[in-house]
């Protein structure tokens, strides 16, 4: 009889511990879930930019590069020696710096960690692990248009 009561008592204690412990965990979760959710910034709807007008041909002289705004992303527009235009994402694939066109070596260069890309966007030296994403450039009626091939 006594033994039975003892057994009953421990299982009751176990049960209460479980309920209180579980309640505590639930309480902690209900406090921290909103806090962590608050920390994650909401997605700001991005205007879907598929193409932009970069300017007139005459704005760009051969052997130069310029950073243009493509929506919220920087894109580098390069006019090569032969007058041909090329455009790439200007965000270095290494650590997110913004690249520039180097007239002396005729390559795309990132000042942060000395990474270089050739004029096909391929990473040719330094730390960048991936090539730069290429954008399509169309020239019509003396106007340069950059088009996102993925969009």
């Amino acid at each position: 009889m006594n033994e039975e009561r003892k057994m009953n008592k421990t299982s009751r204690r176990k049960f209460l511990n479980f309920i209180i412990g579980g309640g505590l965990l639930g309480w902690i979760a209900s406090v921290f879930y909103p806090v962590f959710s608050y920390l994650v910034p909401p997605k700001i709807p991005e205007a879907n930019v598929n193409s932009i007008k970069a300017g007139a041909i005459t704005d760009f002289s051969p052997n130069t590069g310029k950073i243009v705004k493509f929506g919220r992303k920087p894109v580098i527009l390069i006019r090569m020696d032969d007058g041909e235009f090329r455009a790439f994402s200007a965000t270095c694939t290494h650590l997110d710096c913004i690249v520039q066109y180097r007239q002396d070596i005729k390559q795309i260069w990132c000042a942060c960690h000395n990474g270089t890309y050739d004029l096909n966007g391929r990473n040719v030296s330094g730390p960048p692990p991936k090539p730069l994403e290429e954008y399509t450039v169309k020239v019509a009626n003396d106007e340069v248009t950059i088009i996102n091939p993925a969009g």
């Binding site: 200007a90 650590l95 913004i98 000042a111």
Partner: protein, 361 residues
């Protein structure tokens, strides 16, 4: 203690309520061992002094600084050009920040080489290491606040490195940046970290760290521990050591003012998210050795990205360093060379060489 009648009355009133006598008794009995390496005892105090300078000058800057991509740089220029002594307060804040990190490193390595981290001061060492990490966090977040070109790209790189950590990296980067890119939202967050989150955590750990030191007293170096008590020399903490501390603080304050006045800190150019990174982009000097290491790593090591390998290596090294008191290798028998000295020297030389190389390349 000699006190006039009035202070005596006040003291009695307080003592009845808060039992001050045992505390004063404890403090009056505090002793500091006197020996040839005792100069290192002052390094933590200097760091503490510079932290106090940081708090005070930081509060002054808060009165005019306005966070935000369109206001931060402009408000800094206002502080530097229009506010009375604004240039001085800002320059003191920047110089004191750098000196503080420098003295944190001096304090840490002197603790390491004198083996003051040994039992019973393991937790003091760990709390000190956490304070170092928090101080680096202060440096990193504060660097962005003027919203200039160099800081903008340094923050882009720094937070991108965080993003390379497996699993938690990407969400952590998002939380740090307040979005996918470094923008005004990042500035707001860094401002919050710099003036509220970090000071609260830092102060907590600092109080603990100081309490531990007060409770246990200064550590005696090994050669002193083995001396008979009669041969040991002591100095009482109050007032002898305390006054020496105060004198050194005064000297440091003068050096700080000299640097702040004659080498005022530059503001640089305003950050432009659509301009190429300028040549010569570099982080603060205390991140230089890590930055330079990452620069030397190839794009891929085996199947991993070079960056990731570098970050993991530094993280592991940091954890090993943090737990030094718990895995310390003691010399066997009468060995002349101590493994811990070699390991410490290797770390120190690595940091110094890579910092110098970073500035030369």
């Amino acid at each position: 203690m000699k006190m006039n009648w009035k202070t005596n009355k006040i003291y009695e009133w307080l003592d009845k309520r808060y039992e001050l006598t045992p505390v004063i008794e404890f403090m009056s009995k505090k002793k500091v061992p006197v020996h040839k390496h005792m100069i290192w005892y002052y390094m933590g105090g200097v760091t503490l002094f510079l932290f106090i300078v940081q708090v005070l000058s930081g509060i002054l800057l808060l009165l005019y600084y306005r966070p935000g991509a369109d206001t931060a740089y402009e408000s800094m220029r206002f502080i530097l050009t229009k506010v009375n002594f604004g240039w001085l307060v800002r320059s003191i804040h920047s110089w004191s920040a750098n000196l503080m990190i420098f003295f944190v490193f001096v304090h840490m390595f002197s603790t390491y080489f004198t083996r003051a981290y040994q039992k019973p001061r393991e937790i003091t060492w760990v709390s000190g290491f956490l304070l170092l990490l928090l101080a680096l966090g202060f440096g990193f977040s504060g660097y962005l606040l003027p919203w200039n070109e160099l800081a903008f790209f340094a923050t882009k790189v720094g937070t991108d490195i965080v993003g390379a950590i497996p699993f938690i990296g990407k969400p952590l980067m998002l939380v740090l940046r307040g979005g996918d890119d470094v923008t005004g939202a990042t500035l707001t967050r860094f401002y919050g970290f710099h003036v509220a989150v970090l000071p609260a955590i830092f102060t907590t750990f600092l109080v603990l760290h100081l309490l531990f030191v007060q409770r246990q007293g200064m550590s005696e170096p090994e050669h002193l521990k083995n001396l008979p008590d009669a041969k040991k020399k002591w100095m009482s903490f109050f007032p002898n050591f305390f006054l020496r501390d105060a004198l050194l603080w005064l000297i440091v304050l003068n050096v700080l003012l000299f640097l702040a006045v004659f080498y005022p800190w530059d503001l640089g150019f305003k950050a432009d998210p659509f301009a190429p990174a300028p040549a010569g982009i570099r982080p603060e000097w205390y991140f230089m050795f890590m930055f330079q290491t990452l620069k030397f790593l190839p794009a891929h090591i085996l199947f991993l990205e070079g960056e990731l390998v570098g970050i993991l290596a530094f993280a592991i090294a940091g954890i090993i360093w943090m737990f030094v008191p718990f895995w310390e290798v003691r010399p066997q028998g009468t060995a002349k060379i101590h493994f811990m000295n070699i390991a410490g020297m290797a770390a120190l030389i690595y940091i110094i060489i890579f910092t110098i190389v970073g500035y030369m390349v």
